[in-house]
């Protein structure tokens, strides 16, 4: 009897004793035949389920490109909606393979939190939205105002830093959820609402009368948003990084969802031939076959197409490309050479 319970106790404890064995994420994804993607709980434009429950958005398309490259099917994705607080831990603990969820690349996150960032896919910055009725024209006039903000993000620190840097006092009201924070602003609890500009644009479209609200001109933080992966799995990090560079390079070379096969068949440009696997073996550098980028572009199009689909003039958001233009058009989006 005693022997038996001891044996059971040992059996239970044994697995807990071993530090978890490390297998590569790529092998994991291939063997499960599904990519586990951490997304937001619903931010229009970035990642949100549509009325049929299908996830769409800019961050979702980045994940789809990777799924298409690795699993040859952009729909083999398991979506895991993450609260802001969970987005880092979910990927460092291996719960998700990639977090593609409006996450700002910061030094502390990169070095001290068990994650690696891949490529900045969206250059964002924090700003304020306020009511037209307030008569404000600059964020520096907000002295003494109440500001609603969401917790667990970089926004809280940024808004406190902004106030300190400009010698003004702000009463910040911090909410767990973005919806609650925004609702408090629209109910008049706060004079202004703050988060990243792209999300402000997204939320403004959800108000009863968007024209009653205006976005103040100051952008007071740098928010390079990037998909992130677990720290230390360089094989996986390289793969995600270069799939994204591939999408950017494709825009620069004019390769689109519609013409990718045609370009592959006819292009005489050696760079394009290498990218699309006509010559060379760049696919093997990231442990994939040579058609990796063709599949990714077929699934979601190039970087510019992804941007236009989710933020372009035809969408409700209509966020000008600004910093997110290609470097050749005065923006910051620049792919490392694929060779």
């Amino acid at each position: 009897m005693i022997k038996k319970s001891l044996a059971i106790a040992v059996l239970i404890t044994m697995p807990l004793m071993a530090t978890s064995a490390f297998t590569g994420t790529l092998d994991n994804v291939k063997s499960k035949d599904v990519l586990t993607l951490g997304v937001s709980e619903g931010v229009t434009g970035f990642s949100a389920p549509d009325d049929k429950g299908v996830w769409t958005g800019f961050d979702v398309d980045m994940g789809k490109a990777v799924a298409a490259a690795v699993l040859s099917d952009a729909n083999k994705i398991k979506y895991v909606p993450l609260a802001s607080k969970q987005k880092i831990v979910a990927v460092s603990s291996g719960q998700v393979d990639i977090t593609s969820r409006t996450t700002t690349w910061t030094m502390k996150r990169d070095t001290k939190q068990g994650v690696d960032f891949t490529v900045p896919v969206f250059y964002d910055g924090q700003g304020f939205m306020t009511t037209k009725a307030s008569g404000l024209s600059s964020a520096k006039q907000l002295d003494g105002a109440s500001v609603c903000v969401t917790s667990g993000t970089t926004s809280e620190l940024n808004v406190a830093d902004f106030a300190r840097a400009n010698g003004i006092k702000l009463e910040t009201v911090v909410f767990e959820g973005k919806k609650e924070a925004f609702h408090a602003y629209t109910s008049g609890r706060c004079d202004a609402f703050t988060t990243d500009m792209s999300q402000i644009a997204s939320l403004r479209t959800t108000t009863k009368n968007p024209d009653d609200h205006l976005i103040l001109p100051e952008i007071f933080s740098k928010e390079p948003l990037s998909p992130l992966v677990k720290h230390g799995d360089n094989q996986w990090k390289d793969l995600v990084t270069w799939v994204i560079y591939g999408l950017i390079e494709a825009e620069e070379k004019g390769i689109t969802q519609a013409n990718v096969l045609e370009v592959k068949a006819s292009s005489q440009d050696p760079t394009v031939q290498r990218m699309l696997g006509v010559s060379g073996d760049v696919g093997s550098f990231i442990n994939l076959d040579n058609d990796w980028l063709v599949r990714a572009i077929q699934a979601v199009g190039n970087y510019g197409e992804i941007y236009a689909r989710n933020f372009g003039p035809e969408t409700k958001l209509n966020i000008p490309r600004g910093l997110n233009n290609l470097w050749t058009n005065g923006g910051l989006v620049y792919a490392m050479p694929i060779r």
Partner: protein, 389 residues
């Protein structure tokens, strides 16, 4: 199993074995906990994740709007977290006092012979008790925000009092030296009341008739401090809030988040306490009350000496549970923007992602608060228990 084998004198070998097994179990539990800890540490290190409480002494930079002590974003994470704990304690202690008051009143109303009063109390209890607290909080918060105007159109129900959707602004008392004399007089009155109670108790034991203690007590507590109040030159000033820019400044502010949280939490917990009070009162045999009446015992004495000792025996343990629930439920503050310990801790996690440390602290603080509540209530319970003969 043969229990007689463990009885004293019945085989010390068996006793030793039992002892060894128990020591073994303790050892296994200790070993498992230790290896879990080691394992976590090793995994954190392997994944290059920072751990430890070193960050607590680093400047936090986070904004907090409602604190009981002065705060600036340049203060440390540790101090910010401490202020969150203070807010949690503040909400919990105020909540316990207020929900007990309301709970007792509603509980008595539940057993009232007045049809309307008892039905109203029933409706209150059933609604509050059966709606999730989170919804109640969202509701109270929405009501607070929706019913109050913009600061520029504040309601002014009394001089120096302003109501708007940024808070309830009350005159802030600024004590002068006279204030401390009044406070001292109040304390003195309390001591005198205590002495009067002792004398009255003695007198009743000797002659069977006590003093009119309640009247004396009220007299002392009101008259003595008021006398000093009118004699001393300056007791206190009031700082009155005034509209500057976007908001009122100065004064004593009850922010909407705090008001909504307290309202929701207190109304919810009071419904449970009311039920405890009702079940306590109903647990006392009616015959005893009638017997007391027949013997000519005054109704206040019947309450104090016959009903309460037996009713409390039923009510206190259940109420202890409700108090500890209230403390835990206060963590829902995070949903409506009140900066309690969970809200501030959540911000700290968002800033440096050391979730394990903060969650550990949360658990430790809640555990400590609730263990204190439990032991105080258990002590109270043992004091009021009827000594069964």
């Amino acid at each position: 199993m043969n229990f007689s084998a463990i009885s004293p004198g019945g085989g010390t070998g068996r006793q030793l074995l039992n002892l060894l097994v128990q020591a073994g179990v303790v050892g296994v539990v200790a070993f498992v906990s230790w290896s879990l800890f080691q394992n976590t540490q090793a995994n954190l290190e392997a994944r290059n994740i920072a751990s430890g409480f070193g960050f607590m002494s680093v400047e936090g930079g986070l904004p907090i709007n409602d604190t009981l002590f002065p705060y600036d974003p340049s203060d440390t994470y540790g101090y910010a977290f401490f202020l969150g704990v203070v807010n949690t304690l503040y909400v919990a202690s105020l909540g316990i006092v207020l929900s007990t008051l309301i709970g007792v009143i509603v509980g008595c109303a539940r057993v009232s012979s007045n049809w309307l009063v008892s039905r109203l109390a029933t409706v209150y209890v059933e609604i509050l008790r059966n709606v999730p607290l989170l919804l109640t909080l969202f509701f109270t918060y929405a009501v607070v925000l929706a019913s109050l105007p913009h600061p520029r159109h504040s309601l002014k129900p009394l001089a120096g009092v302003f109501l708007n959707n940024r808070g309830i602004y009350l005159p802030n008392p600024v004590p002068h030296t006279g204030f401390w004399f009044v406070a001292a007089a109040f304390l003195l009155a309390l001591v005198l009341v205590f002495i009067v109670f002792l004398i009255s108790k003695n007198k009743r034991e000797i002659s069977g008739k006590g003093l009119p203690t309640l009247r004396i007590a009220f007299g002392l507590i009101i008259v003595l401090p008021s006398l000093i109040f009118f004699l001393s030159p300056s007791v206190m000033d009031f700082e009155i809030a005034s509209l500057k820019g976007f908001n009122y400044r100065g004064g004593l502010v009850l922010r909407p988040e705090f008001t909504a949280l307290m309202t929701g939490l207190v109304l919810y917990t009071a419904a449970f306490i009311a039920e405890n009070v009702r079940s306590g009162i109903q647990s006392v045999n009616k015959g005893q009350i009638e017997a007391a009446g027949a013997l000519g015992v005054k109704s206040t004495l019947t309450m104090r000496k016959i009903i309460l000792p037996q009713a409390l025996r039923v009510s206190i343990p259940a109420t202890t549970n409700d108090y500890t629930s209230l403390v835990k439920n206060s963590s829902l503050a995070v949903a409506i923007g009140y900066p309690d310990m969970v809200s501030i801790g959540g911000t700290i996690i968002g800033q440096n992602d050391q979730a394990i440390e903060i969650i550990g602290l949360w658990m430790a603080v809640y555990l400590t608060i609730n263990l204190i509540i439990s032991s105080v209530m258990n002590w109270l319970n043992s004091r009021v228990q009827v000594v069964e003969r």
